[in-house]
């Protein structure tokens, strides 16, 4: 299916309009720079902080945390999802407990986590790991349980062993659902990162933003917020690309 020509232009219309009117209102003095600095001012402070090396440092810190948390939490969620999806024993043993814990909003753990781990890296990683674990777990489990049983039967008729059955039928069948879990997990990941870095941290974009707040540097606060938005969007776009490539057999994704 070919995308229509406007599919590349229309998504940009709203953000550009918003930025342009914001810039315009700031320039004519309708918005005080103390309340909301103009987009160009935010861009300027971004360039300034990049030159001092502050911004790249914080960005790298946040990025590292997000990635490590996602890899650990995502792998755990994926493995548990696989285990419980493939074995009835494991599912009856674990799933009910996991679903109970899932209903605790993981950010309520912050106080407890700070008591346990202090405000070091492990506290933030722990929060991200628990945040991304559940969406990936649930969607992996659901994906595996909803693989077309006729395909599995076909695989058995053609003498596929358990490993081949998993590799050729179960995993690809569960993949669309797993990728939905991944996209959802990315959202949770950024949210958790923001909260964790804002509350207890000495580096990262969240820390930079909080620090700027104490000095009333609204432009840097805005810079931090916009960066979160951009990073979130970037992660989401990457997952979409991954989806389009991995699920290219599916007409819905072409």
């Amino acid at each position: 299916m070919k995308q229509p020509w406007y599919s590349l232009i229309l998504p940009w219309v709203l953000p550009i309009l918003l930025l342009a009117s914001w810039q315009f209102l700031s320039q004519v003095g309708a918005i005080s720079p103390r309340v909301l600095p103009s987009p160009l001012a935010v861009l300027e402070s971004g360039i300034r902080l990049t030159k001092t090396g502050e911004l790249p440092l914080h960005l790298a810190e946040s990025f590292k945390r997000a990635t490590i948390g996602l890899v650990i939490g995502g792998s755990l969620g994926f493995l548990f999802g696989l285990l419980n999806g493939l074995s009835n024993w494991a599912r009856f043993l674990f799933d009910s407990s996991v679903q109970t814990i899932r209903n605790v909003p993981h950010l309520t753990m912050i106080t407890l986590v700070i008591l346990w781990f202090g405000i070091g890296e492990s506290a933030k990683l722990f929060l991200i790991v628990t945040g991304v674990f559940f969406p990936i777990y649930i969607n992996t489990l659901h994906g595996i349980r909803s693989v077309d049983p006729r395909l599995i039967e076909m695989g058995r008729v053609y003498g596929l062993g358990p490993f081949k059955l998993f590799q050729k039928i179960i995993l690809p069948g569960a993949l669309p659902s797993i990728l939905v879990g991944l996209r959802y997990a990315l959202g949770v990941m950024w949210l958790t990162l923001i909260v964790a870095e804002t509350i207890a941290s000495d580096s990262g974009i969240g820390f930079m933003t909080m620090n700027a707040r104490d000095f009333l540097q609204t432009d840097i606060v805005l810079l931090g917020i916009l960066l979160y938005a951009l990073l979130g969007k970037l992660a989401d776009s990457l997952t979409r690309l991954l989806e389009r490539w991995l699920l290219r057999w599916n007409p819905v994704y072409r």
Binding site: R150, L151, E153, M154, K168, P172, W249, N250
Partner: protein
């Protein structure tokens, strides 16, 4: 029942050699529900047997037993004279829906069935050629028509080099014209590849057109069978064909009595 006795007499000499498939008093029950009840059947190597009957008469279950997807609860099944348990490596089942893997290309789907240590792609390509789909090797199954998908499924079954091909209403979901084409194709391939085939269908005309022998099933039993030696490809407007078709239809509708 008279027709049944007659045909038994005709069948016997043909089954002197070790039967490809032999069922002895086979029964299958799910809980208290009896699905198959004392089925006795011998199929000669290279024979094309059709099983007709109403929905729920046990014909599909019979195929599932033969391919090893379900264990029999009574009696014994021998393939090539040897009893078996679990998946039957000598038999392939073709389903009513093609059951292709949507995430693999047509060629990969066919290659799934080829033996591990062989030139898989070439074998798969040859099988695709047999069903006339070599041009679509690189396509995803999602863009094929229903008939083409069934042809891919047929190619996959052929690529496995199984000696017994079990067809579970493979054409049930196709439109009338595609059905006729597929019937012709199956017959042609069967004639040149010489495998043993069991075709389950509820279309008596299909059974009459393709089979050497038609079995009629009702309530888990074989209630009648009829041997045909009409020359192939069969003329569906000939009076012999119509007589056969009507007799089969009558058995299916009213039982053999």
């Amino acid at each position: 029942m008279i027709a049944l006795e007659e045909s038994r007499r005709i069948t016997k000499p043909a089954v002197r050699q070790t039967p490809a498939v032999e069922l002895e008093n086979v029964g299958k029950r799910f809980g208290a529900k009896v699905v198959l009840d004392g089925v006795n059947l011998k199929i000669a190597p290279g024979e094309l047997v059709a099983i007709v009957g109403r929905s729920g008469c046990g014909k599909s279950t019979l195929l599932r037993l033969l391919v090893g997807l379900e264990p029999e609860t009574e009696g014994s099944i021998r393939i090539g004279g040897v009893p078996f348990r679990g998946p039957n490596p000598g038999a392939r089942l073709m389903f009513q829906d093609a059951a292709l893997l949507p995430w693999q290309t047509v060629l990969e789907n066919v290659a799934l069935a080829t033996s591990r240590n062989s030139d898989r792609r070439n074998e798969a390509a040859r099988a695709l050629q047999l069903v006339g789909l070599e041009q679509r090797a690189k396509d995803w199954p999602a863009i094929l028509s229903g008939g083409q998908r069934q042809r891919v499924a047929l190619a996959r079954a052929l690529a496995s080099k199984a000696s017994i091909l079990l067809l579970d209403e493979p054409l049930g979901a196709l439109d009338a014209l595609t059905r006729l084409e597929m019937q012709k194709l199956i017959e042609e391939i069967w004639i040149c590849e010489k495998f043993t085939a069991v075709l389950v269908t509820h279309d008596v005309e299909e059974a009459a057109a393709l089979a050497d022998r038609v079995l009629v099933m009702a309530e888990g039993r074989i209630i009648a069978e009829s041997q045909t030696s009409l020359p192939r490809p069969r003329d569906r407007s000939s009076s012999e064909f119509i007589t056969l078709r009507e007799a089969l239809l009558n058995w299916v509708m009213n039982g053999a009595a």
